[in-house]
Structure formats: C-alpha cells, structure tokens
C-alpha cells in the first residue's frame, strides 16, 4: 500500500505543459521547472510515485528496472514542499539510484535504468528502420508495439520458442470514439517511437478530458527459462 499526496500551484497550466503544437504554443520554461506546493510519498513504488505527476497532466514514461517475477520493488517515502518537478524527480532517483531521467520529446519525462540506453539487450533500443501506422488506436499503439514495430516483432518471433502466442483482445463498445492517429517514422529506436506516440497523444487529445495525453511503461520480468530471458510488456501510463 502506498499513499501519495500532492498539491500543485498552477494546475491550470498543466494542460499547457504538454506540447500543443497544433495551437502554436511552446512551453519554453520546461515541465521540470514547475512548482508543486507539497507532495508526500509513503512506501510508494516508482510507478506509484510517478503516477501522481501523471495524474496532473505531466506525461511520464517509465522503463522499469527488470525484476524477477514476484520480486519486491523499492519503496520510496518522503515529503516535499514548494518544490519543482525537477526536485521531485531528483528525490526519486536519489531514493532509487538505479534510475535516471531525461526530458525526451517535448516535455515528456523519461525515467529509466541508468544503463538501459546502452544495453543492447534492451528491447527499447532496437532500431526500427521504418515504422508506419495508419488510423491506429492511440492507446493500443503502445500495448501493441511488439506487433506493429517490424524489427521488434521480427526479433521476438526469432527469439521466442515456437510454442504459441495467447491472445486476449479486450474491447469496449465505444472504441470508435477513441483517438486514432497515423504516424510514419524511420530509423528510430523502440523507445523513441514510444515517445513519439506519447507526443502524438498530446497533440491529438488536447482538451479531451476523457482521452488525455498518456505516457508509457515498459516492464521486463526476468525469467531465465525464457528464450528472451524474460517477458516484456508495454502499457500506457
């Protein structure tokens, strides 16, 4: 169980924190300089702590440190007052030094393991030569990245044993209302593509309260018995 408390000075600005290129507005100050009046964590995982920022409109993307199945995560506690977003991030990576962060596409915050960008085994580093989706469901673009990013799909098909791929494709009756988008990218990593999708969510959803901008979470559960060494999952965040 964890509890997170936060009060933000300028909540009204938060929607503007995202890159709203469609309306010609650029956030020059940067998301990490915005102040938050108070925030408190109590035995929060990194995901739970970042969810607080996300809930106030800040797009956060998390590559979680690979864990074994059932392995307990690091818990973070603390209380901060009158701090910038940057201070919160610094506090979090100080509390769990395995992480670092950066500002990726247009005020999208990436938190990831310190060595992951240089890890050739990291699936997020796979280079996709040509990525193209048309009128694709915004949120499923993240969860389906392993199927729609060609080099990633090919790698996984090669690495996985020919057992089977179970499917559980959940839907709702109002899926047609969900935001859809088209995207064509070349020579970007899977991580970059995910950030581009997150960026797209801020562009196409500006002002839509039911379908707000999103980030992503990549988790890898270590399992030595797997040909891939574990199980990757991509989810929206």
């Amino acid at each position: 169980m964890s509890k997170v408390y936060i009060k933000i000075y300028r909540v009204a600005f938060l929607i503007a924190l995202t890159c709203s290129l469609s309306i010609g507005y650029t956030v020059e100050a940067g998301v990490i300089d915005f102040k938050i009046k108070s925030i408190a964590f109590e035995k929060a995982t990194m995901r739970e702590a970042l969810a607080v920022l996300r809930d106030y409109g800040i797009q956060v993307c998390l590559e979680r440190v690979p864990l074994h199945n059932g392995e307990e995560e690091t818990r973070i506690s603390g209380q901060l007052s009158n701090v910038r977003v940057k201070d919160i991030l610094e506090y979090l990576i100080h509390a769990d030094p395995r992480y670092t962060y950066e500002i990726a596409e247009c005020n999208i915050i990436n938190i990831y393991p310190k060595n992951s960008k240089n890890n050739p085994e990291d699936l997020l580093n796979i280079k996709i030569s040509e990525f193209e989706i048309r009128q694709y469901d915004l949120y499923n673009a993240i969860t389906h990245i392993a199927q729609i990013a060609p080099e990633l799909r090919a790698y996984l098909q090669k690495m996985l044993k020919p057992g089977g791929v179970p499917g559980s494709n959940i839907r709702g009756e109002m899926d047609s209302l969900r935001p859809k988008f088209s995207l064509k990218l070349t020579n970007l990593t899977v991580r970059d593509i995910l950030n581009k999708i997150a960026e797209q969510s801020s562009l196409i959803n500006s002002g839509n309260r039911d379908f707000p901008p999103i980030g992503w979470i990549y988790e890898f559960v270590i399992d030595e018995s797997s040909p891939l060494g574990g199980y990757p999952t991509w989810r929206i965040f």
Binding site: K158, V165, N169, E173, L177, I214
Partner: protein
C-alpha cells in the same frame, strides 16, 4: 332593539377622509359605552285562553343579565327572577309559566312589562307575542323607542261587523299621567273624556265601548283613527292595540307611532304576502288579500300614492294602485282589486309596498295586513318610515321548534341597487350566506328552515346543524343604502304569526383580502387573484364574520406593467422577471360609534399584493457521473441549464465534496467525480439563474458511480474464428501474429462480454459513458509460455474480451498450454481477475 343613546347619524366621507383611510387603513372602532337600558312593553296577557311569549335576544358577545318586572293593570309591580342570557343567546319563555313559578296573584294575568339591562345599547332585543292558539289569534309588539313628542297616532279598520278592537295605554313612569284621546271618525275629530293613569297603570280600552261613549253608532267598528296625547315626557305613555275577530280567527296589530319621529313622507313595508305565495309552506289554496288602511292625521287634505313592488319568477314587477285622496283625518283603504285580479294563477315570490304621500312627514300613517281566508292566516306587514341616514341593520331572534317557520324579508327602499350582509348566529357556530343583493324596490326573503334543511353550504362551506332549533340573524347594510327588514315567524299549526324587526346598530369594518397574499411565479404564466371583502364587528369576535367574493367588483392596476399586468377580472399575467406590486381597490363603508353617534364612513379598501416574477430554468444531463482513478476514461459529465428569458446569470454549486464543478458561471457546467457515492442521489447540484434581480434555483441529484465489478453477459466460442498469420498490422479478435517465423492456421475464438457494475447492492450497470477498459496479465507459465498474451484496451461500459491461441504446436497436432492471471480494470479500478489457461482445444477462464 332599543336605543338608549338614540341619536344616530350617517356621514359620507369627504375625499380627504377617504384618502386618510386609504393611507392609514381602518381606525380602531371604540367599543360603544355600556349603559343602563330600560325597555317597556305596553301589554301582556295570560288571561283565559291567552298567553304571551317574551322573546329576549342577547346580541352581545358577553353574557347578559336582564331583570324583568311586571306591572299589573293597576300598576302593581311584580319582579320576576333575572334572566341570564349566554352570548348571542335568545330565549322565549311563556309568561304563564313564569307567573306560575312565582305564584303570582291573578291580577298579574294582564299588565305591562319593564326590562332592564346594563350593556351596549341596541345590542339586546325584546319582543312579546300575545297569542291564543285555540283560536289562531296572535299579535305582537316590540319595545317602542325614539319618542320625540307626546303624541301617538294610530288607526283601525275592520272587515266585518264582528270585529272589535282593544287599545292598551301604558304609563311607563312612576308619575301619574293625564291622557287625551281623540277619535277620528269619518274625517271628524271627536275628543274622548280625559283619562288619568296612575303610575305604571295600564288601561285597556274597548273600541265598542269607546265609540258608544262618544255617541258613535255603527255596525261593528268600521274604520277610524286614534290620536293620543299626554302630559308626560316623550315615551312616558306607550300604546298598542289589536283588532280582533275571534270567531273569524282574525287578529291584527293596531300600532301607534309618534309622528315626530317620521323622517320622511314615505312609508315602506316588506314581507307583504300577496296573492298566491311561492313559499312552499303555505297551503296550495292560499291566496293572500292585502288590506292597506291609511289615515291622514293632519288637518290638510293630501294624496297617497301606493306602489306595490312584487317579484314573480325572479323578476321585480311594479304596480301603482289607484291614487288615494284623503280628506283631513280621513281613513281610506287602498284598492288592490285590479292587482289581485291580474295575479290570479301567478305565484308571487316576495312583495313590498311603498306609500308616498303629499303631506308633511308624519302626517300619514297606515296599517297593512294580508289575510288568507283559506289557511286561515293573518299576516301584518308593518309600515315604517325609513331614515336613509340611520346606519341600522337588525338582529332577529328565531326559533325552529314546533311548527315555526321563520322567514326574513328585506327590502331595498333606496333608488339604487344595494346589498346587505346576513349572519346566522347560533350556539356553537355561525353561518354566513352569500351577500344579499337587492335591486331597486326589491324584496328578498330568506327561509331559515329551508336553509337548514336544504343543507346549503355558506361562504365558508359550513352547514347549519340539522338539529338547529334557535339562533339569531344579524344583518348589516353592505352599502350606504339602508334596507328595511323584519322576520316573520309563521306557526302553521297554530295559524299565528309573529313579527320581529328589532333594529340593531352594529359596528362594521371591512378589509380587502387578496388570495394569494402575494404572487410569485414564473414569467410567461398567469395567476388568478381572488379577492375577498372581509367584514369584522365587535358583535362577533374571532375573525371576520363574513367574507364575500368581490373579485369581479374590484379595480386593478399594476405598478410596473413591464413586469406584470392585471386584467379587470384579477388575472395577473407575469410578463418578465422582476418585482412590482398591484393595486386592488373597491369602494367600502365602515360603521362605527364614534363616541356619541353612529356614523357610516365611505372609504376605499385597498390592498397592494406584491408580485415577484421569476425566470425559469430547465436542466438536462445524466444523473450519474463515473468515478475514475486512472488517467483515461470519463470521470465527468456536463449538465446544461437553459434559463429563460435569456441574458441572465448562471451560478452552479454543490453541497457535496464527492464532485467538483467547473464553468460554474456558464450555462453548461462540468461535474467531475471526486469520490464514490455512498447512497444513490447523495450529490446535490444547484444552479441559480438570475434575471433582473429575480432568481430561480434548480436542484438536482447525482450519483457518483464507481466501477466495481463485472457481470458476465454472454459467452460464445467459434472453433475456427481466429486466423494466425505471420504478421499483421493490427492484432484483432479475428487475426493476429503467430509466435514463429511463418504461420497460417486458425485458432478457436472465445468471446466473453461483460457489463460494468456499480458499487451498490444490488449493483446497477453503468452505461453510456466513455469509461476506460484495460487488461493486464501476469507472467505466463506453461509448456508453451514464451511471451505475454497480446492484449488490448477499450472504451465503453460493455466489455468484449476475445481469447485465441496462435500456437504452431497446436496447429501441428501437438499439445501445449499457457496460463496467466488476467486483471481487468475499468477507469483505473480493478473490477475482475480471471485465471486464464490457453490450451490447444480451448481456453478456460475462471473469474473471481
């Protein structure tokens, strides 16, 4: 009723006075002074087959003690026990009973009566009926009052030679009186020998004896006049007489008047029974023949014009009788023959008579009697000279016991239509009939027994008790015109009648009342004002004694027609939001005792009902708002208010912390959920719409629904419903990428559908919202586990989940399986977990 103060004046207010009352309302009427009042009745008899009924009527709202003293013919006094009268009570003891109770000497079987009480003058009435039931004979009298001179004038007439008359002269004082009688016979005035009355003496004079004494020889008593003078003060001598034919069941009052009290040269009578009466209690064969005898009491010839005003089938008819020329001191009878002939076969509802004479006021007097030889019944209709400046009403005692049939008659003696207020008072209640309206010259009647037995509700919906036996009828003029009135009690078994005409000065003040008191309504609508004229009097405490509907008689105006207008019938049209007031007014009158005289004041009754016109508002939108803990999915709804007229200001608010509101000054507010409802409709939403300072508030209720569980709605399987291909752009229920380099085979497809349920018990489906649906799986296990299941996400409240298994092992006939734990979240809330096992033959889903 009697008056000790006597002097009554009527004043119509000047415009200045009217303005005063309009501005300051009613002056408080002072309670009339309580004084000792003495009333005298000249004659009673219990001798032989005669008896007398003394009716005492307390018109006060307080108990009243009345002391009574009888004086024998020789003036000997006999005090009776005091009478105690409850408020507004009347009693009618028989004197024979009272005399027996006190063991009175036989000399008290005839004499006079003196009544004394201390209280407000003219609020107590007395009446004496002398009757012989065995011979259907009766006559009656009320205490005479208002004497201004020492002269009394009377006349008699007879229909046959068997009729005689008696005249009773009563000395009401403790001093001796010298009395001079003059008989007017065939226009000749013949003095009778002087009479000396000792104190309190009553003398009964037989007409035959008197005529014989004066040397007048005639068959019967014919017709003649009596002029009486005395040496006492006005009122020291009172007189009454009766014209009798015992064998013919005929008895008629022989009244005396003080000519100095007659205010005009007009005599009026109401309640004349004429021809066939439409009253149901008279026998079918009844036909009333009026006899009007007039005496010229002056020494100058004069004429008299007699107009009979009667009503048939509700229409007032007027018939002037042949002109009557009267020589000095002559007595003549009016000629009804032609009128009666014309009324054969016609039922007459009511009738009255107006006599206008050419002499000075008081120079002509008369007696009016209707005779029905069929019943037989003799009914007097007293002629009175109404004073248009006396604000008098009446208070009549009535009884319904035995075969008594009390009927009240009123007549409008003015030159314009008028109205009066009548109230029936009885022990334990009151009854207010509608306003009695009278056309010019019209006589109207009110049959109290019929009113009781017909169960006719009064203005307040009250009924007279079905066992009502006695009470009072109080009536008060409603306009400046003063009608005349009297009550006639017909005893249809005894064949006698009694007349009650006690006048009564009662204070009366009225207020205009508006229902509703104020008008509050939406613009564009209308509301009807109902106006009542409430009347108050100290005679009847505790609220108005009468409330009359006067909606169509009032004048209406609006202070601001752009806010509200009002029609001539009191229909208020609410034009636009704002506040104003109306003015409603009607002419009214107030009667009060100003300390030394009774006055009637004209005044304007005004009320100013406020009018507040509100805008209208309607609100549309859902009644539930979903709760969300994640970042995606609907957690708000819009409520849209439409205020009318446009241009006003909106203000939304809530008393609940389960939601937050944005755009609270706009027509459309966004309601965002904060926490789940603990009960249905526990979130109150308010929106106030204000235009021109007037506001309308709408209040609605919302429920914050939290996605809590799923219920399975359907479950179907298609054995080859899914195609596994080498690559696909989008994994769907029908197509997905297989786990291997190449593939092209099919898989089963199992589809489950769920409904999203709320937090309540029993749970209700949440529908119609774009709520977020997500699924996740734990790390898979099993012989074919190599990658997490391909998942999806959705939007809506009906969830479809399709399961398939792209396994080359299965496709090649092998056997393998994958197991994982599925978690479904809706709007960020975990609503279901499933244990899922994909095998070659199918998938098992075990929910929790």
């Amino acid at each position: 009723m009697s008056s000790a103060s006597g002097f009554i004046l009527r004043i119509l207010a000047t415009p200045t006075l009217m303005i005063f009352f309009a501005l300051y309302g009613f002056a408080q009427t002072s309670t009339p002074p309580s004084v000792l009042n003495v009333l005298s009745l000249p004659y009673y008899s219990v001798r032989g087959t005669w008896d007398s009924t003394l009716t005492l009527n307390n018109g006060l709202t307080d108990p009243l003690t009345v002391s009574a003293k009888l004086f024998a013919l020789d003036g000997s006094p006999l005090s009776l026990p005091d009478f105690s009268l409850a408020p507004n009570q009347n009693i009618a003891p028989r004197l024979s009973t009272l005399l027996n109770q006190v063991g009175a000497d036989p000399k008290f079987w005839e004499g006079s009566i003196e009544l004394r009480y201390t209280g407000i003058a003219m609020r107590f009435g007395a009446q004496l009926t002398v009757f012989d039931s065995s011979r259907s004979l009766s006559y009656d009298m009320e205490p005479p009052m208002e004497f201004k001179s020492t002269i009394l004038e009377g006349l008699w007439w007879s229909a046959d030679s068997y009729t005689s008359a008696q005249v009773m002269l009563c000395n009401t004082t403790d001093q001796a009186l010298n009395v001079q009688l003059k008989v007017e016979w065939q226009s000749i005035v013949i003095p009778a020998p002087p009479i000396h009355l000792v104190p309190r003496q009553t003398m009964v004079i037989d007409s035959n004896t008197l005529l014989s004494t004066l040397g007048i020889r005639t068959e019967g008593i014919g017709k003649g006049g009596l002029s009486i003078s005395h040496n006492g003060s006005p009122g020291a001598l009172i007189a009454h007489g009766v014209v009798l034919n015992p064998g013919g069941h005929f008895a008629s009052n022989l009244n005396f008047i003080d000519p100095a009290t007659q205010p005009s040269a007009v005599l009026e009578a109401t309640g004349l029974l004429l021809a066939h009466s439409s009253s149901p209690f008279f026998p079918l064969g009844s036909f009333f023949t009026p006899v009007l005898a007039l005496k010229n009491a002056s020494s100058i010839s004069q004429t008299a014009t007699v107009v009979v005003q009667y009503k048939t089938n509700g229409m007032v008819q007027v018939q002037t009788l042949p002109l009557i020329r009267l020589a000095p001191h002559e007595i003549q009878l009016a000629d009804f023959a032609a009128l009666l002939y014309s009324l054969r076969g016609t039922s007459v509802d009511t009738a009255g008579v107006k006599v206008t004479y050419s002499g000075i006021a008081g120079s002509l007097m008369g007696t009016l009697t209707s005779i029905d030889y069929y019943s037989p019944l003799v009914v007097d209709a007293p002629l009175v000279s109404p004073d248009p400046n006396m604000p008098m009403g009446g208070n009549y005692a009535f009884r319904l016991d035995r075969s008594l049939q009390p009927v009240i008659y009123w007549k409008n003696v003015s030159a314009r239509p008028t109205a009066l207020m009548a109230i029936i008072l009885y022990e334990g209640g009151r009854y207010t009939p509608p306003l009695v309206t009278l056309d010019i010259g019209e006589t109207v009647s009110m049959d109290i027994r019929q009113l009781r037995d017909n169960r006719t509700p009064d203005l307040q919906g009250r009924l007279l008790p079905s066992n009502l036996q006695s009470g009072q009828v109080l009536w008060i003029p409603h306009e400046k015109e003063i009608p005349i009135g009297r009550l006639v009690a017909f005893d249809m078994i005894a064949g006698t009648t009694s007349n009650f005409s006690c006048v009564n000065c009662t204070d009366d003040r009225s207020l205009l009342r508006c229902v509703p008191v104020s008008i509050v309504g939406n613009f564009g609508t209308s509301q009807q004002l109902t106006m009542y004229e409430d009347h108050y009097t100290s005679s009847i405490p505790n609220g108005p004694y009468a409330s009359y509907l006067v909606t169509n008689q009032c004048a209406y105006s609006s202070q601001n027609a752009s806010v509200a207008t009002v029609s001539t019938t009191g229909l208020v049209n609410l034009v636009s939001p704002g506040s104003t007031s109306l003015t409603v007014q009607i002419d009214g009158f107030e009667t009060r005792d100003d300390g030394f005289q009774w006055i009637t004041v004209a005044l304007l009754l005004i009320v100013n009902p406020p009018v507040d016109v509100d805008p209208t508002i309607s609100v549309s939108g859902p009644s539930t708002v979903p709760l969300r803990s994640g970042v995606i999915g609907q957690n708000n709804i819009n409520l849209t208010a439409v205020g009318s007229p446009p241009g006003g200001a909106y203000s939304w608010s809530t008393t609940s912390n389960k939601v937050s509101l944005t755009n609270t000054d706009q027509p459309q507010v966004t309601v965002t959920s904060v926490s789940a409802s603990t009960a249905q409709n526990d979130v109150i939403i308010l929106v106030t719409y204000t235009v021109n300072g007037r506001s309308v508030t709408w209040q609605g209720y919302l429920t914050v629904v939290k996605p809590t569980s799923l219920t399975l709605a359907s479950d179907s399987t298609n054995a080859n419903g899914h195609t596994c291909v080498t690559s696909t752009q989008t994994p769907t229920c029908e197509t997905s990428t297989c786990g291997g380099p190449t593939c092209n085979y099919t898989s089963y497809l199992r589809i489950l559908t769920y409904n999203v349920m709320d937090q309540f018990n029993p749970a209700q489906a949440i529908s119609g919202f774009t709520i977020d649906i997500q699924e996740s799986y734990t790390t898979p296990s099993g012989s074919c586990a190599s990658t997490p299941p391909i998942t999806g996400s959705g939007t809506g409240s009906i969830i479809t989940d399709c399961f398939y298994f792209c396994s080359s092992t299965c496709a090649s006939g092998g056997s393998c399986s994958v197991s994982s734990q599925q978690t479904i979240t809706v709007n960020g809330f975990q609503v279901r977990t499933n244990s899922v096992n994909w095998a070659c033959s199918g998938v098992t889903v075990t929910g929790q």
